[in-house]
């Protein structure tokens, strides 16, 4: 199993610990990763809103790099997967848009052909062969009450992101993270507003306080269910919860702090990697006490 690894911007620059954890986990689970000279995806929360052609052309360039190697593209971020999956979908289905974009790219010897698929680390780890390997390699359980947060762009719009897994109402309710974590002994815990926004894009583009108000509402529902930790698959969502709780506590005087994990960090711990190996030592909200309570050190 071999993929072109699309790191994006936030993970290798802001949260390299997620990258370290992902590389280690993929190596253990026989998922081979190839690095290519990608650029920014660019985000569905910025470039797409400002200049659609630029958004589509840069996304197409990234898709072309993977196409040229004949590899499917593996992303680690909900924003990246949204842009690249949607651009791939649009360019595969529209002759006129494909022609237009190829004109922008022709000076750099790229040509979008539509030969690959875009996937996300969660979907890759959820495959049968990887799960079997995980069950075989797992050395410990992580018995924590964990709330999963998928990140809106990971699964919306459902008709583009998961066309084969639509509900009767033609929507999509993701479950893979909850299922995957239950394999490593986690107790996935439901909470209200699980599938709503973390607040990050509103904060990044317009109004940080308003963005954090959304985070605060979500956290209230998370506390209500006595959730011990959060699991995310997106660096922007991560920052919103990790940094967000510190910022919010200045105002709200809230004492409770919930550590946030990136998915492959939890999987890494179950595979016997140390908290430092998977980069947990640099989180703002330290999971140290929580982990020592379950004998992970």
């Amino acid at each position: 199993m071999k993929y072109a690894l699309y790191l994006g911007c936030a993970i290798p620059i802001k949260y390299p610990g997620f990258e370290a954890a992902t590389r280690l986990v993929c190596e253990r689970l026989n998922v081979e990763l190839v690095d290519l000279p990608f650029s920014c995806c660019p985000p569905p929360t910025s470039m797409k809103l400002v200049h659609y052609d630029s958004w589509l052309a840069l996304a197409a360039r990234n898709l072309c790099l993977a196409e040229e190697q004949g590899l499917d593209l593996l992303t680690l971020c909900s924003g990246c997967v949204n842009t690249l999956k949607e651009a791939n979908h649009i360019l595969k289905n529209s002759d006129s848009k494909r022609r237009r974009v190829n004109k922008f790219l022709e000076g750099h010897n790229h040509r979008f052909k539509g030969t690959i698929e875009v996937t996300h680390i969660l979907d890759v780890l959820y495959q049968d062969t990887v799960v079997e390997k995980l069950l075989h390699e797992k050395v410990r359980d992580i018995p924590l009450r964990v709330g999963c947060h998928y990140g809106c762009h990971y699964f919306r719009p459902p008709k583009v992101m998961y066309p084969g897994e639509l509900s009767d109402a033609e929507s999509h309710v993701p479950v893979k993270m909850d299922h995957l974590l239950s394999i490593i002994g986690v107790e996935p815990t439901e909470y209200s507003r699980k599938f709503l926004c973390c607040g990050s894009p509103l904060g990044a583009n317009m109004d940080q306080d308003a963005g954090y108000s959304i985070t605060r509402q979500k956290l209230e529902y998370i506390h209500e269910r006595n959730i011990q930790a959060l699991s995310v698959v997106c660096p922007s969502c991560f920052e919103q919860f990790d940094m967000g709780q510190i910022v919010l506590a200045r105002k709200t005087k809230e004492k409770r702090r919930i550590p946030t994990f990136y998915l492959t960090q939890l999987v890494g711990l179950a595979l016997g990697l140390s908290p430092k190996d998977v980069g947990l030592d640099v989180h703002r909200i330290k999971p140290k006490k929580l982990l020592s309570g379950i004998d992970v050190a």
Binding site: S39, D53, G107, C197, P201, L202
Partner: protein, 153 residues
Amino acid sequence: MTIKIWKFFQREQLFECYQCARCTGSCPAMEVAPALGPRETILICLNQGHDRVVEDEKLWLCCTCNVCEDRCPQEIPICDLLVALRNSAARRGNIPIRLGMAIELLAKTGRSMIVHQLDEMRAHHGLAPLPPAPVDEVRDILKKTGLDEVIEI
């Protein structure tokens, strides 16, 4: 330069809306900020024309979470409309300062994050330095696509 909004979104779709406000009721931004909200955006487009929306900076108070479209009983592609309206707004200079800066950074560096003391941080996690981004290629592509209609690059 302006763009043709109705090339991105079929204008007739506006008439599908019966103002049930399920979109706005689901909107996380509406709850915490004086956003326009999808229902009102559609109503203003119908009654007063889309120019009114495009000039309003409240248009940008949005999480781009796509819940509105997901829950619309009439299956109106609301997000296509919102993307088109914002593309048009940006061309007229209605663009939030933070967002404009983010786009500038992307065009200049090929990445949307500031690189600062990166090698040390990556070495701490046992990772090799990050190869430089293909800045020249990205910039050239963005020149061809006409990003400087919106932001000087």
